[in-house]
């Protein structure tokens, strides 16, 4: 968020260490394999859009990325540290550098918006006025500042999702994980949320993994960019896609696609063709 205010440019992708590395990761529940032999990378400033049908394990993959779930086999590296081998106590510290937006927002219903957004800052024992100022700044980013004193139960689904994004970005994380940020929302609200995700990508250049099963959201992210001057997203010129956005696709527990927007569109895989049609 602050980086965006300074107007910094994203680092060239090839030159930097990957932020996330999945190396032959598998996980199952109650002896049923859910994800098998998953390998991919997320580099600094890169947005990976994770597609796949409902129930394929997208959220599971995301939860493994911040250590909420541990793989049965394989290794996961985040910021160069092998989180699959880390103790839970050490993971709490690492998660401070990862922002997570949960499927339904997962706001703390007994706390107001200010306390929800400033939760992590309060845990770090920052003075009250600083917590309020930074929570207000994050809420301004998602255009929710007027709701600072309201409780989650008083907000609509879209508003809750925006507050969840504010909570995820308040500490300026280096990596953001979005778990179906538009799931269950109407098309207009979905566009607003996608615009915010894009704003975070293009203004702050934060690395991210966006889980979605809505192909239209994925293509909006790939074919638009956020214009800071007009404060709106704009369609990229024809045949041009965002260079920092690429795709992953899961099918039947396996990673069936890892590539750019163009490669996805021109894929000859019958499942992918059917999925994106």
């Amino acid at each position: 968020m602050n980086q965006g205010a300074n107007g910094s440019t994203p680092p060239p992708l090839a030159s930097v260490e990957p932020v996330v590395v999945f190396d032959d990761v598998s996980i199952g529940f109650e002896q049923k394999p859910v994800l098998e032999n998953i390998s991919f990378q997320v580099r600094a400033g890169e947005m990976r859009i994770l597609l796949g049908p409902a129930g394929v394990g997208k959220s599971v993959l995301l939860k493994m990325t911040n250590g909420l779930l541990r793989p049965d086999s394989g290794r996961i590296f985040v910021f160069g540290k092998e989180i699959s081998a880390m103790h839970e106590q050490d993971l709490f510290e690492l998660r401070g550098a990862i922002g997570t937006v949960f499927q339904e927002g997962a706001l703390f219903d007994s706390l107001d918006v200010r306390d929800n957004v400033g939760y992590r800052l309060m845990e770090e024992h920052l003075p009250d006025d600083q917590v309020t100022a930074r929570a207000a700044e994050a809420l301004r980013f998602v255009e929710m500042e007027p709701a600072i004193d309201r409780f989650p139960s008083e907000l609509s689904g879209g508003m809750r999702r925006r507050v969840a994004i504010a909570r995820a970005i308040v500490t300026n994380p280096k990596l953001i994980l979005y778990d179906s940020p538009t799931g269950g929302l109407d098309p207009i609200t979905s566009t607003t949320i996608i615009e915010l995700v894009m704003k975070q990508r293009d203004v702050s250049h934060t690395s991210s993994i966006v889980v979605t099963h809505r192909i239209q959201d994925a293509f909006v992210l790939a074919m638009h960019h956020f214009n800071r001057t007009t404060n709106q997203m704009e369609l990229l010129p024809p045949h041009q896609t965002d260079p920092n956005t690429s795709f992953l696709m899961l099918h039947q527990g396996r990673l069936v696609f890892d590539g750019t927007t163009k490669e996805l569109v021109h894929s000859s895989d019958p499942f992918i063709k059917e999925y994106i049609s």
């Binding site: 909420l68 106590q89 997570t100 939760y119």
Partner: protein, 259 residues
Amino acid sequence: MALDTIDSAAKRGVLAVQEYVLLSSRAVSDIFRRPFYRDDIYMQADIIGVGSLPIVILTGFFLGGVLALQSASTLQQFGAAAFTGQLVSFSMIKEIGPVVTALMVSGRNASGMASELGSMMVTEQIDAMRALGTDPLKKLVMPRIVATVVMLFFLVIISDAVGIAGGGFVSVFLLGQDASQYFHTCYQSLEYPDILQGLVKPIFFGFIIATIGCFYGMKTRGGTQGVGRSTTQAVVWSSILIITTDFMISRFMIGIFGR
């Protein structure tokens, strides 16, 4: 087929015990690790301790009263109605005070903890807390254990006192006994092991209420129905464990002190 069912049920049982022991031991070890959520402990102490005060006073008073009523009529048959106070104080301090107070607090708070944490679990708030870098065991479970153990200890003392007062009220105003005689027999026959037994029990019971409530809350799955199931199981299992533990502590203390 039947063997498979027994096998999987046994495995589930062992797994549940293992998870319970892990959760309890980690939460207890969190007491000695920073950050120390002092404000959360005070808040839980207020909810659990102060919030349970009315029901503990009411049940304590009437239990003491009914004890006096029932024991006086039996003792009268042997010409020993003068020992009503002793019987009430013995029963209240060693058994009924700790057990009934624990059961009341369990009904009110183990269910509350299970439903609160269960709701947080099914709405991913616990995951969100972990994702925000906070250990839910430290933030949510540890304060509840500390608050329940400390507050139940004092609630039991209050319940004992109110119960003896209730017994006194019934003995004096309904049975026409002498107040001085009642209260004298109440404390004169008491010895330190009796008091110790009554004060050791709430420590164990408080631990059981908080850990069982939190355990079922933290393992809630399956939406609102799951929350309901966890709440019921928390009350049922904490009640069973309170009574079982009461027997074991009583046996142990009687074994040591001979009374």
